[in-house]
């Protein structure tokens, strides 16, 4: 069982029970208000909470890992929250990331509004789970997309970079494999993620409070925060695009392929490049996942042990009948 199964299970139940989906199968048209959707409340309660995050964190980092009792509020990065409501600023490096699920709007044609909301909630919760599992901070939620930060005052840039790549790879995996497989079985095609990540150094990121009164957030002003969504827009289906600064933090560039055109022109002869990140290769080589017979990536990080049944091995082993003559 992989770490996203609890989220997927609830989404599956919601889809299976959705009355609009059933009516569509029989070409019947009814308004959402005609249906009894009281079961949705129960399903929402089934979505994993912090206990799931703590369990996975302990599986990955060890039993002594402190229990997380609450997550920081949005728009208020804990290391810079002192800026809230002030006119003070601070220069400090950060990795900014944007990820969202594309083509999910088509869900509205197939399911009731309540089911769509629950699917979105499931995706968002699974994404928040992945970001927090990897030490990131969720800054903003928009629909089924997230804006996140990796980094702060008590972490090295190199570590934050690895954390960010891992978190975004996990989210991409969830949508590309678990979710897509199930959606496609229910006639929903081409649902995919796109993500962008970039690092701004100390002299390139200004932390500040932006807003009026309570209507504001502690946020960053940085070319590299602005470039992250631009990179996201250039990502392929289920792709993650990263800036040159991200690449510079890693000792190995074999996971990255430079895009043909730079993402930014400094207008002084310098350009800033962006790269496609081969996240499937990254999570496999770094032992967060394995590959099956056909090369499909199977997430293993933080997976709880389940009893292995040789019946499921038999179809693969069946084509082998060994012989000794060495």
């Amino acid at each position: 069982m992989n770490i996203f199964n609890p989220y997927l299970d609830v989404i599956k139940k919601a889809v299976d029970k959705d009355p609009k989906r059933m009516n569509k199968l029989f070409s019947l048209h009814q308004e959402d208000s005609d249906f009894d959707l009281s079961y949705i409340k129960g399903l929402r309660a089934e979505l994993p909470g912090l206990e799931s995050l703590n369990e996975s964190t302990r599986l990955i980092k060890g039993l002594g890992t402190p229990t997380i009792t609450n997550l920081p509020s949005l728009g208020n990065h804990p290391d810079f929250s002192y800026l809230r409501g002030t006119t003070n600023t601070e220069k400090h490096w950060i990795i900014s990331g944007f990820v969202d699920v594309r083509k999910s709007t088509q869900l509205n044609n197939r399911f009731t509004l309540q089911t769509v909301a629950l699917i979105t909630e499931g995706i968002v919760k699974a994404s928040i789970f992945a970001v927090n599992l990897c030490g990131g901070y969720v800054h903003r939620i928009q629909g089924d997309g997230l804006m996140v930060y990796f980094g702060g005052k008590n972490i090295e840039k190199k570590q934050a970079t690895k954390d960010a790549l891992k978190a975004f790879a996990l989210i991409s995996y969830f949508v590309k494999n678990d979710l897509k497989e199930y959606f496609e079985a229910n006639g929903i095609k081409d649902v995919f993620t796109r993500a962008g990540l970039d690092l701004g150094h100390d002299n390139q990121v200004l932390w500040m409070y932006s807003g009026l009164g309570e209507a504001g957030e502690v946020t960053t002003s940085s070319l590299h925060t602005s470039l992250a969504p631009k990179m996201q827009a250039t990502a392929l289906s289920n792709g993650i695009v990263v800036g040159q600064h991200i690449l510079n933090q890693l000792s190995n560039d074999k996971y990255f392929k430079q895009k043909s055109k730079p993402i930014w022109d400094y207008e002084d002869g310098r350009f800033y490049n962006h790269y496609d990140f081969d996240w499937e290769k990254y999570i496999t080589e770094n032992d967060f996942a394995v590959q099956d017979q056909n090369g499909n990536v199977i997430l293993t990080i933080g997976s709880s042990k389940t009893k292995l049944d040789p019946i499921n091995l038999a179809p693969i082993a069946a084509s082998n009948k060994p012989y000794f003559n060495c």
């Binding site: 394995v290 069946a318 082998n320 009948k321 060495c326």
Partner: protein
């Protein structure tokens, strides 16, 4: 070599845990990496470090596979040599694959990967999922019986001898090997099939069946 290099690159595009390494031998290419056994329910069983060497005569070759992590006990019953060379399948079936030419990725999926999945199956269940061939000559006898439907050593010796000699017997005349009315309807198709194994393998097979025959005759006497 160009085809081999192209297929190696394709393999490496798919299987991220492998890399192309250089061996002292100049007439082959090698892949070193890890096979993760994953079942149909996406459950992960075990990882094996392996070395796969592929001769330059690719695609008309059979890759050699060495288990490098010592997970498989170096015992005949596990079909592995002391050096870790894995006996993936009966030689005859591998020769047939070699004759038609292999595709590296398909060979990995259909022959190499199942060998390791089957090892995990044996550990869990005590036996291989489809049984196994007996060791050495006895396995050859078993193969002739199960795959070719040939049980009688005297006839088998005649058939192999004929296959080795390359004589052309009259198709519509009485079969000199089994006595049926038309040779083309009984032994000829079998001889043609046997020729696909090549002279080297047929000579080995002939020795096995001749020994078996003399043993049988000795018992009769």
């Amino acid at each position: 070599m160009a085809l081999l290099k192209r297929d190696l690159a394709k393999f490496l595009e798919i299987y991220h845990k492998f890399e192309n390494i250089t061996l002292e031998k100049h007439d082959c290419e090698a892949l070193y990496g890890e096979i993760a056994v994953v079942d149909k329910k996406k459950q992960h069983w075990k990882n094996y470090k392996v070395l796969i060497t592929v001769h330059a005569s690719y695609p008309h070759t059979i890759p050699s596979v060495y288990e490098m992590s010592d997970i498989i006990e170096r015992d005949w019953d596990y079909h592995i040599s002391k050096q870790g060379a894995c006996c993936l399948d009966i030689t005859h079936d591998l020769i047939l694959k070699r004759n038609t030419g292999i595709n590296l990725i398909e060979f990995y999926r259909e022959v190499i990967y199942p060998f390791f999945a089957n090892h995990q199956y044996k550990i869990a269940e005590g036996d291989y999922v489809n049984g196994e061939y007996k060791h050495f000559g006895e396995g050859i006898v078993q193969y002739y019986e199960t795959k070719l439907g040939l049980k009688e050593p005297l006839l088998i010796v005649k058939l192999i001898t004929e296959a080795l000699e390359n004589r052309k017997l009259e198709a519509n005349k009485e079969c000199p090997l089994c006595g049926n009315s038309k040779h083309k309807k009984c032994c000829r198709p079998i001889i043609n099939k046997l020729r696909l194994y090549g002279k080297n393998q047929l000579k080995i097979d002939l020795t096995v069946f001749e020994k078996l025959l003399s043993k049988k005759n000795a018992i009769k006497v």
